[in-house]
């Protein structure tokens, strides 16, 4: 509920605030955006994913984490369907030989609630990030940097002698990097 306050009209009356509130109202900004703890949430919200998944070359998940935990099945399904789009993009790039082939695949497909982004490594491991559609402030560069961090962290997991390629990822370090990128559970 609190996450939507930034864009909606505040639930409390403007009159109960100071002249600052009136000035803001005149300039069209919502007063809620000056309320300190909403600002904090607002800033966090703009860089956070709702679900992050790492899929192996053989198309089974190595790691999948989502917030909130109740709708987990829906996210699993979303990630699964996005794999088709990933495959399509990979094979499409193969035909366009002139293009500089990038690892970042961009927006895979938008649903009414969520936007799904994809990234594939040279070892054909896919990363999928699902973000909330209401996050309009999330720019392409930020998504790219999230993927970069994921890739770096995954490379470290791969080089860990206690990790067998093909197993699910148990590394706590990887887990903490992912948790830092996800929406804080309210």
């Amino acid at each position: 509920m609190l996450t939507r306050l930034k864009t909606q009209v505040p639930l409390f009356s403007m009159n109960s605030y100071t002249k600052l509130g009136e000035k803001l109202k005149l300039s069209g900004l919502s007063l809620a955006s000056t309320h300190s703890h909403v600002i904090r949430l607002g800033r966090h919200n703009s860089k956070m994913a709702v679900c992050i998944a790492v899929i192996a070359k053989e198309n089974y998940p190595l790691f999948i984490r989502s917030v909130p935990v109740q709708n987990e099945l829906k996210f699993h399904y979303t990630v699964h369907t996005s794999l088709d789009v990933v495959e399509e993009k990979i094979s499409a790039v193969g035909k366009a030989m002139a293009d500089q082939r990038e690892l970042y695949l961009g927006l895979l497909y938008p649903t009414e609630d969520y936007k799904v982004y994809g990234y594939v490594t040279n070892s054909k491991v896919k990363f999928v990030i699902v973000v909330d559609s209401s996050n309009t402030s999330l720019r392409d560069n930020e998504i790219r940097s999230m993927f970069r961090k994921l890739h770096n962290s995954f490379t470290d997991v791969m080089c860990n002698p206690f990790y067998n390629p093909g197993d699910t990822i148990q590394s706590k370090a990887f887990d903490s990097i992912v948790s830092a990128m996800m929406v804080q559970a309210s």
Partner: protein
Amino acid sequence: MADDVLFEFLHMEMVYHIYKDQASRGEMDKDRATCVSTLEGMGFRVGQGLIERFTKDSPSFKDDLDVMKFICKDFWINVFRKQIDNLRTNHQGTYVLQDNKFALLTQFSNGKQYLEEAPKYLAYSCGLVRGALSNLGMDCVVTAEVSLMPSCKFQVVIQKI
């Protein structure tokens, strides 16, 4: 810089240790085969991790030949400090990589002395190449042959299923 020789010494000790271990346990017949596959297995896992790190920033590869060129240049430079001298292919999945001064064999001899010991020291590198290729999506069999030290040839045969 002493960095380069660190791995060479470690590798020599690894081979020695594996063979010593095997000799103290089993029969003479099984020795060579299991030692070679142990070393190859080690190289395989290391190759997988290495390739993940090296290809982190490079764009995707166009085809098999592109992958082999990457192995011959960037990968070989990073691991053995030089490029492969000669790459030959029959365009049907077989590649021969020739290194005229293979880093792990330079200390042995300049000719035919110690030739029969050489295969032990090539097993790890074969595994390295196999692991790297497998992580890039190419299943293959890698073998090495030496006729005149320190030059050696790695033969890569890609398994098409």
